[in-house]
């Protein structure tokens, strides 16, 4: 089972991203589960969401405390929230950041995790004209971890949004996929 924890701020689309990832896995015939940390939905406030993916039915329904992957939609959460708590050795940190991976690694203070990053703010503003970075993060996530294919993510994005919005977001996913800096 692969467990992903999403950290974002209300309005950045972390919950939606957790659901799109689950949907992509379901499209691939896998089992998946996506749920938010309940009750804290306020614009700008730190939010958490969770995705589980497995080849067999998933019974466990509690919050994820030892994730394989953390996705950080806002780099300011690195200092204000315990985003790395429980992250497994050799796990992934997928982060929205303008800084290069080496510099991010120093800030994280962990040498036993893999890092992938993209400047999701710039991509989102350029294509969507709004700072909603969730779909950009999906592009980095699949490039780094291959938990689902790029095609499945694109399929899931197109199911999730209206045609016009989906088209723009697919462009975002692809651009983030191309621009992602991945350090295994």
């Amino acid at each position: 089972m692969i467990e992903i924890r999403w950290h974002g701020r209300g309005g950045q689309g972390a919950v939606t991203a957790s659901q799109v990832t689950a949907e992509a896995a379901i499209i691939e015939g896998k089992y998946a589960q996506a749920f938010p940390e309940f009750g804290a939905e306020r614009r700008g406030a730190p939010v958490k969401a969770y995705t589980r993916i497995d080849e067999k039915p998933i019974y466990i329904r509690s919050p994820i405390v030892e994730p394989d992957i953390v996705v950080i939609l806002d780099p300011s959460l690195l200092v204000s929230e315990p985003v790395l708590d429980g992250l497994k050795k050799n796990g992934w940190v997928i982060i929205n950041s303008k800084k290069p991976v080496d510099e991010i690694r120093k800030t994280l203070g962990r040498s036993d995790v893999k890092i992938a990053r993209v400047d999701a703010d710039t991509i989102a503003l350029q294509i969507l004209k709004v700072p909603i970075v969730n779909t950009a993060m999906l592009g980095v996530l699949v490039k780094a971890t291959q938990i689902v294919s790029l095609d499945s993510i694109i399929d899931a994005v197109s199911r999730r949004f209206s045609e016009r919005i989906a088209k723009l977001n697919i462009e975002v996913v692809k651009k983030a996929y191309e621009e992602a800096e991945v350090s295994g």
């Binding site: 689950a22 379901i26 089992y31 998946a32 589960q33 309940f38 019974y59 509690s62």
Partner: protein, 393 residues
């Protein structure tokens, strides 16, 4: 053709209600149920569902309007949670007493005070003696399937009772997972619209729910008893028929790895799902434990409870609600104890409370319960303590 999609339990319920082709929905918004009626409003606005949506001023009115519509022969639906279900309480008795086949979804939630929007089953347990049929489901797929089954059961001529389908607020209501949606036509063939109950008709005037003096009231109530008992049998039939058509059936209870179990735990709702993972984990460590998931809460499936638990040395019942001042333990614990005692099953019972007011229920919490039940089995001694798992004293 079956369409696999990703839905929360709330949305799964909305899809089921749409496919059931309901005529009237009356509802008042309350977290964590609101998504259900939001989605249904969308279906109506898009022309996908031809139904009347009545926006009422309270849950008391929601159930009242639902009763009115049902009494006029409409297929109806409403949804609520927590304080909403409490406010409806008076009218719940009227729905069952008037023998109206209403279907209601409840995204279960704790009761105030202190205000808490998160999940436990205090609301459902308070509805226990209202004469409703009450299912507690464990996944989005089961939520969908059970709503369809609920209409079939409620409208059965030998039953004619309202049905509540409950599931954990947030933990199920807001969790997206795979749901297989059948063809709408297939659902409509399974639950064709037939008005099987007594309805109000201006051409043939009749009164529903009038004064029942001592000479008659008792018989009306006894008929409800008979109907609820009958519902046990029909619920099984409906589940079997549903399984034949749609390929999924659940039983009134669901045994999990109980065949060779020495001890058992009992759970309902989302906790029963996590409990399966805990049973798997405990078995890896050599503990011969199994799970009995209670799916039909009312009427109580006594035969099944006794059948699956008769051979284990000890049983731990996990409740998601507190029964204040009860002789021992939580509300479902009391049911299990009663069923086993009356069926002559002698086993060491213990009661566990957890997941109150949305307190997360981790795998290790269930493992704590399993270990305690194992200890009790090994000691061979009856315990009268109720274990409040994870509480800070």
């Amino acid at each position: 053709m079956v369409k696999r999609t990703s839905l929360s339990s709330n949305y799964a319920v909305a899809y089921a209600v749409k496919m059931a082709d309901v005529d009237v929905i009356a509802a008042y918004p309350i977290t964590p149920q609101t998504h259900i009626v939001e989605k249904l409003s969308e279906f109506i606005a898009n022309g996908e569902l031809d139904a009347e949506m009545i926006h009422v001023e309270s849950e008391h009115s929601a159930m009242s309007a639902t009763i009115g519509a049902s009494a006029a022969g409409a297929r109806v639906f409403t949804a609520t949670a927590s304080q909403g279900l409490e406010l409806m309480h008076e009218i719940l008795h009227i729905a069952s007493g008037m023998r109206l086949p209403i279907v209601m979804a409840v995204a279960s939630r704790a009761l105030s005070p202190p205000i808490n929007i998160w999940s436990d089953y205090s609301d459902i347990m308070n509805a226990r003696d209202t004469g409703w049929i009450i299912y507690i489901v464990s996944s989005a797929q089961e939520a969908f399937d059970t709503i369809i089954q609920a209409y079939k059961l409620a409208e059965n001529k030998e039953v004619l009772l309202p049905v509540m389908v409950a599931f954990d607020g947030f933990v199920l209501s807001h969790t997206f997972e795979a749901v297989d949606l059948p063809e709408e036509e297939e659902v409509r063939r399974f639950i064709p619209k037939q008005v099987t109950w007594y309805t109000l008709d201006p051409e043939n005037p009749m009164t529903l729910g009038p004064l029942g003096p001592p000479e008659w009231y008792y018989e009306f109530k006894y008929q409800q008893v008979v109907a609820l008992n009958k519902a046990l049998e029909i619920a099984k039939q409906v589940d079997d028929e549903y399984g034949k058509v749609f390929g999924r059936k659940y039983g009134l209870v669901e045994p999990y790895r109980l065949d060779d179990a020495e001890i058992a735990i009992v759970a309902y709702g989302a906790l029963a799902s996590t409990a399966k993972a805990a049973v798997d984990e405990a078995r890896k460590n050599g503990v011969k434990v199994g799970l009995l998931r209670l799916r039909l809460f009312r009427p109580s499936p006594v035969e099944e409870i006794a059948k699956y638990l008769e051979n284990v040395k000890a049983v731990g019942v996990m409740d998601r609600a507190i029964s204040f001042g009860a002789p021992y333990g939580g509300p479902v614990f009391a049911d299990i104890m009663e069923a086993l005692y009356m069926k002559g099953v002698d086993t060491l019972l213990s009661s566990f409370i957890l997941g109150i007011g949305g307190r997360p229920m981790y795998l290790h919490d269930v493992l704590t319960v399993i270990n305690k039940v194992k200890e009790i089995a090994e000691s061979g001694r009856r315990t009268i303590e109720t274990y409040y798992i994870g509480v800070r004293e």
